[in-house]
């Protein structure tokens, strides 16, 4: 298992690229932050609207901001993969050891998975279709509020745990 993980989660081409270009790691860090700002800015605003902040927003047009949150998320995934697959360029710890011992990385991955399950539940429970009909000033149903609250807490948790990852190495 250990050999398998260390083989498949180390991409020598990325490690070599990061070793040869000092800006590779820093640009990834910058874009990881840009991505998280786009994600929290749009998804966070959507969640807060469901919770009752800025209720003057009708839901359906507010959804048009969400693709920008998805772009932010994809930026974070892409740069997060650079940190993972190219980790050797930055620290000596093998990736298997980091995955097995870094509690913050584990919590971050767990919260990301829970945020994914929460999103899936938002669609499958019918809450998504229900809130689409919300006009300006209308209150979201309790289930949608619970899902929005969970989303906000989970994504902020992802940011918090993510920031702590280097401190467990």
């Amino acid at each position: 298992m250990e050999a398998f993980v260390n083989y498949w989660l180390v991409w020598p081409s990325i490690v070599n690229f990061l070793n040869a270009n000092s800006w590779g790691w820093t640009l990834s860090e910058i874009l990881h932050f840009v991505g998280l700002v786009m994600l929290i800015g749009t998804v966070g605003m959507f969640d807060l609207r469901l919770l009752g902040v800025g209720k003057g927003f009708p839901l359906e047009p507010l959804r048009q901001l969400l693709p920008w949150g998805v772009v932010g998320f994809l930026l974070c995934v892409a740069t997060g993969l650079v940190f993972t697959l190219g980790l050797q360029a930055n620290v000596p710890n093998p990736i298997y050891e980091v995955l097995m011992t870094d509690i913050w990385l584990q919590l971050k991955l767990l919260f990301m998975a829970l945020a994914g399950v929460n999103l899936l539940f938002f669609y499958l429970s019918g809450a998504s279709a229900e809130v689409d009909r919300l006009g300006a000033g209308q209150d979201a149903p309790p289930l949608a509020k619970a899902i929005a609250g969970a989303s906000l807490i989970l994504w902020l948790g992802v940011v918090y745990f993510g920031r702590l990852i280097p401190w467990a190495l």
């Binding site: 966070g44 901001l65 940011v159 920031r163």
Partner: protein, 196 residues
């Protein structure tokens, strides 16, 4: 200089810097990122709307998110001062830090001007077209936030790395904006088609 080292060696700064407690350095660092996410994130959302994304979205409710942005700014001011206190001499001798701080305050200034321009009379916010100045201020604010964010990330790196990273970011940003511009031109055509 003596004053700065007395800050650096104070009990509080030493504790923040050296304690393994989750209430010390890492908490201030994480809160600094969360404050940034709210402040800059909601600025991005507002700017997107002013640039025409989700144009059926009324402007007035954006005013309800300004308190979150103010709290985000306050959190970052306080956590920023604490992080600064852990190594004031280092930070003050780093030109990157001055560029970052200049960009932060200029950006907040643009945001406050934008607030006065668009949201001073909420009843009128949606009754008139978006003032051209508002788009300029939103664009300036986003540009300045990217400078602040890039510089903030680069405070710990040496000058050649800073220069290479800034060039790399500018290249990425130009490519990104080019893609956005081209795809938006496409979607704009679609929208006018719907209206007709």
């Amino acid at each position: 200089m003596e004053f700065l080292s007395s800050i650096e060696n104070s009990g509080f700064a030493t504790w923040v810097r050296e304690s393994p407690s989750l209430l010390a350095y890492t908490l201030f660092l994480a809160l600094h990122t969360i404050g940034l996410a709210f402040l800059v994130g909601f600025t991005v959302a507002l700017a997107l709307r002013l640039f025409g994304v989700g144009s059926r979205l009324p402007l007035a409710p954006f005013a309800s998110f300004f308190p979150f942005m103010y709290v985000g700014f306050l959190v970052n001011l306080l956590t920023g001062l604490v992080l600064f206190s852990t190594a004031p001499i280092n930070f003050l001798s780093n030109p990157v830090m001055y560029v970052k701080l200049g960009a932060v305050f200029a950006s907040v200034f643009c945001l406050l001007k934008l607030k006065r321009l668009v949201f001073s009379d909420l009843a009128k916010a949606d009754a008139r077209p978006v003032p051209a100045n508002a788009k300029t201020l939103a664009g300036a604010s986003l540009f300045l936030w990217s400078v602040a964010l890039v510089m903030g990330r680069l405070t710990a790196y040496s000058r050649p790395v800073v220069i290479a990273s800034v060039i790399a970011f500018v290249v990425f940003a130009v490519l990104f904006l080019a893609v956005v511009f081209v795809t938006r031109l496409g979607s704009r055509g679609e929208m006018s088609g719907q209206r007709a």
